[in-house]
């Protein structure tokens, strides 16, 4: 008797209304939209103060000057989506840049000098991935160790010598494709490819599964350990690609690790909406966040914020973005 009443009530409920397009968009890409809005607002405000801000040259500076960070953040976003983290990427990029530059100067084919950092990046991160996945050491611990090893190793090996006399053909970041700077093209293409891959392939989706609920992923038949290694290897490849941009931007390669690069990359990923707990976020967000940082850096110079207070203002803006995101989330639930 009771069965029938309950069944009836359930059936009487009409299929739920699907929320509107924008509502869904906002639910799915909320943080990306917040970051994008921040970029737009900044552009609008600063342009009013100084119209040169949106000159083609400045746009190039903003979008392509930090493209290597965005590319590195793509891999980082993937790693964080699986619930891991990598604090060694800055040191890795420093090492890879030296390798790439040395090969170019030593007269190896240019393509090889470009390929090498990608391959070495993948190899180094494969080791990190194996330690994380099979030896079950938390990724922050492994990469903290890797940070020391890479940083120390770089100095031991290079002795701090800069690499100069790079062949002009090697300097791909200074070239243009269809009138657009290569770093910009790299950043956009890689972001879109990675975003597409993470959205439309089973492999890409499995990263969300691993980070979202490892136990469930295992029960679904996703080989977690193999995926963890794979994501680190892919991250290594992106670090290699980032290195190509980093190493070819100027005519000299510094053999030091860019200070705090790893923190910048991680910050870009998390401000872009990648949950530090794993399981959600997109690479579109991390790239937008990188652009936001570049925009802030440029904007503060344009609006004459005292350089002494620059970092404080950047910190404040990051904090504001984080809090805005939290308030948005809370408003939703």
């Amino acid at each position: 008797m009771m069965t029938t009443t309950v069944e009836a009530t359930a059936r009487s409920r009409a299929a739920p209304q699907r929320p509107g397009f924008f509502k869904r968009l906002f639910a799915e890409y909320g943080q990306e939209i917040v970051v994008l809005a921040a970029i737009v607002v900044l552009f609008a405000v600063v342009t009013m103060v100084n119209p040169r801000f949106i000159s083609a040259n400045n746009l190039t500076t903003i979008f392509s000057g930090n493209a290597y960070i965005a590319v590195a953040a793509i891999g980082m976003a993937m790693v964080i989506v699986t619930g891991n983290i990598d604090v060694s990427v800055g040191a890795l990029i420093g090492v890879l840049a030296t390798i790439s530059g040395s090969l170019a100067v030593a007269g190896y084919p240019i393509w090889f000098a470009w390929l090498a950092p990608v391959l070495v990046g993948m190899a180094v991160n494969a080791i990190i991935g194996i330690l994380v996945a099979y030896a079950r050491i938390p990724s922050i611990v492994v990469t903290l160790g890797a940070l020391s090893i890479l940083r120390g190793g770089l100095i031991s090996v290079t002795g701090g010598t800069w690499i100069t006399d790079l062949p002009p053909d090697y300097l791909i970041a200074q070239k243009q494709i269809l009138g657009l700077p290569v770093p910009l093209v790299f950043m956009v293409v890689l972001t879109l490819l990675a975003a597409f891959w993470m959205r439309y392939t089973a492999f890409g989706r499995s990263l969300y599964a691993v980070g979202g609920n490892a136990e469930a992923a295992l029960a679904t038949g996703i080989p977690i350990a193999r995926r963890t290694v794979a994501v680190f290897v892919i991250h290594g490849a992106f670090a290699g690609l980032a290195t190509i941009l980093f190493a070819t931007q100027l005519q000299v390669i510094q053999s030091t690790v860019p200070p705090n690069l790893e923190l910048t990359v991680i910050t870009a990923a998390v401000i872009g909406g990648v949950s530090i707990l794993g399981g959600s976020g997109t690479v579109i967000g991390s790239t937008l966040a990188t652009i936001l940082f570049a925009t802030i850096g440029s904007a503060l110079i344009f609006v004459n914020v005292s350089a002494y207070w620059l970092r404080a203002v950047i910190g404040l803006l990051i904090l504001a973005t984080v809090l805005a995101d939290m308030l948005r989330r809370r408003g939703r639930s």
Binding site: S12, R13, R205, A209, E215, A216, A219
Partner: protein
């Protein structure tokens, strides 16, 4: 409909963990189009057996024959390929992903270009959910915002999406309310009609007799018996499970009901606690019945200070009090044994001793220092009093069985000497023996003058244990029924009373 030829048969399955044999040469089979119930107390080996069937564990010995071929499962994928799907008790879903994606994860339909065809994923999910009479679920919703029953539907849809020939359901009703249980049973029958073989693990006898075609009982890792359901009755099954007979399932103790200890007037919090008023007396067991989402748990959380009341009045022993945090509730003598034992009740990695003292740690301290000796003594007492089965009080709680874990949570709150004890689903996921023990403990407590509020989805439990039943629906009280008048029909009617109106 039920064919006599088994689709899957397991023979001589054995498994040990750390030298302990948890499964000893068990044989088990499932035929297409039958519901085969698997029974046993916690620790009897049911989970191990089904995990082997679903490819999560590899057996130490034994063979698995599927459709006439002997197979070895080295992962859940292998089992899936053989047509075996599992709906786990813990509902292994991805909270941040959509319903549709959860259904097809790892098994996506592709477009001709080889990429995931999201339109198809959504369409087919819609179809599957409709087949399960689940019209009320948007396929784009993130799973984190779904109720337990809805999540379970998603799990079943997932199993169906793989065209499973065998569906293993591990305690599917453990966390469902009565109405959802009925819906689930309808779904199970529908699947059976389609020729799917179902392994149904449950502690609940009525469901087993309503659904099962055959039943297999395990005890201590060994096979006890496999029978057609018509050959056995409830008492036989219970004694097969526990190896002895159980007198009465709901030993309602007679306690003298005293003066009012808790008086709630027009209590409100959000949409789920609306204008609630009731009284609770010493030595009384007040049962609270209601559907999931009716506001039962929310009421408890408000009384416990987790989600403080926005308006209304709570009076303890005649004094009006404000409860803004669990701490204040505890200090006023209100204790809450939560619904989700693993997440909310226990710190599984910590020792029994530390869990038992957790709510009273300040009282067990002089200054800021914990009196370790006294703490240990109290834990030892609790273990003895509630007959918690464990190696020693230093054993991490996570290693105990469900029933013993629940007793640890209860022990923790008894340490606070509560005047009002709120038990939210006190016997969920607890085996028959432990269930009876918990009921006995409740009886002893009311004799000592403790007032108990018991929330339960199991109607027989509510009816069997309560002095009075409070029915909640849509956040409001829709019925207050004395023990004598409390029949399943009356309570059931009150549970759905306002519901239809609210949903519109």
């Amino acid at each position: 409909m039920s064919s006599p030829v088994a689709y899957v048969s397991l023979t001589g399955m054995s498994k040990s963990f750390g030298g302990v044999k948890v499964l000893k040469e068990v044989s088990f089979d499932v035929r297409p189009g039958e519901v085969h119930a698997l029974l046993g107390e916690n620790g009897a080996g049911k989970s191990t057996l089904i995990k082997m069937m679903s490819g999560l564990y590899t057996p130490d010995a034994g063979t698995i024959v599927v459709d006439g071929k002997e197979l070895k499962f080295s992962s859940t994928r292998d089992a899936g390929a053989a047509g075996i799907a599992t709906v786990y008790q813990e509902l292994l879903l991805f909270p941040e992903l959509s319903v549709a994606e959860n259904v097809f994860l790892g098994n996506y339909p592709r477009t001709s270009a080889g990429i995931i065809d999201w339109a198809e994923v959504r369409r087919r999910t819609r179809d599957l959910l409709d087949q399960l009479d689940t019209y009320d679920l948007d396929v784009d919703t993130k799973v984190l915002s779904l109720s337990v029953a809805q999540r379970q539907r998603v799990e079943i849809a997932k199993a169906l999406s793989k065209n499973a020939r065998i569906l293993i359901m591990d305690e599917p009703t453990a966390s469902l309310v009565e109405s959802d249980v009925q819906r689930l049973m309808a779904v199970v029958r529908q699947l059976r009609e389609r020729g799917v073989g179902i392994v149904y693990v449950s502690h609940r006898m009525p469901e087993i007799f309503a659904l099962a075609d055959r039943v297999t009982v395990l005890r201590d890792g060994a096979h006890v018996a496999t029978r057609d359901i018509g050959e056995v009755d409830e008492n036989q099954l219970v004694s097969m499970m526990v190896g002895r007979s159980i007198e009465s399932l709901f030993p309602k103790a007679d306690a003298s009901i005293g003066e009012t200890v808790l008086k709630v007037t027009n209590l409100n919090h959000g949409r789920h606690v609306r204008d609630i008023s009731f009284e609770l007396k010493r030595g009384e067991i007040l049962g609270i019945a209601g559907l999931v989402g009716s506001g039962r748990t929310e009421l408890a959380l408000t009384l416990f200070g987790m989600t403080p009341a926005t308006s209304g009045e709570i009076a303890m022993e005649g004094k009006v009090v404000r409860i803004g945090s669990p701490r204040q509730a505890r200090d006023l003598g209100i204790a809450y044994v939560p619904e989700d034992r693993g997440q909310q009740g226990l710190v599984k990695a910590m020792a029994i001793r530390k869990n038992v003292s957790m709510a009273t740690i300040e009282r067990l301290s002089s200054g800021i220092f914990i009196k370790a000796g006294e703490e240990a003594q109290r834990a030892l007492d609790a273990v003895k009093r509630l007959s918690i089965r464990c190696r020693n009080i230093g054993q991490p709680v996570g290693e105990l069985s469900g029933g013993n874990q629940q007793k640890v949570v209860i022990a923790k709150w008894l340490e606070t000497k509560p005047k009002v004890l709120i038990l939210d689903e006190p016997t969920r996921g607890v085996d028959v023996g432990a269930k009876a023990e918990i009921h006995t403990i409740m009886g002893e407590l009311v004799k000592q003058g403790v007032a108990i509020i018991m929330i339960s989805s199991e109607l027989p439990e509510v009816l069997g244990m309560s002095d009075r039943v409070l029915v909640i629906s849509g956040g409001c009280i829709t019925g207050e029924i004395a023990r004598a008048e409390a029949t399943p029909e009356r309570v059931g009617a009150a549970m759905t009373a306002h519901r239809t109106g609210e949903a519109a």
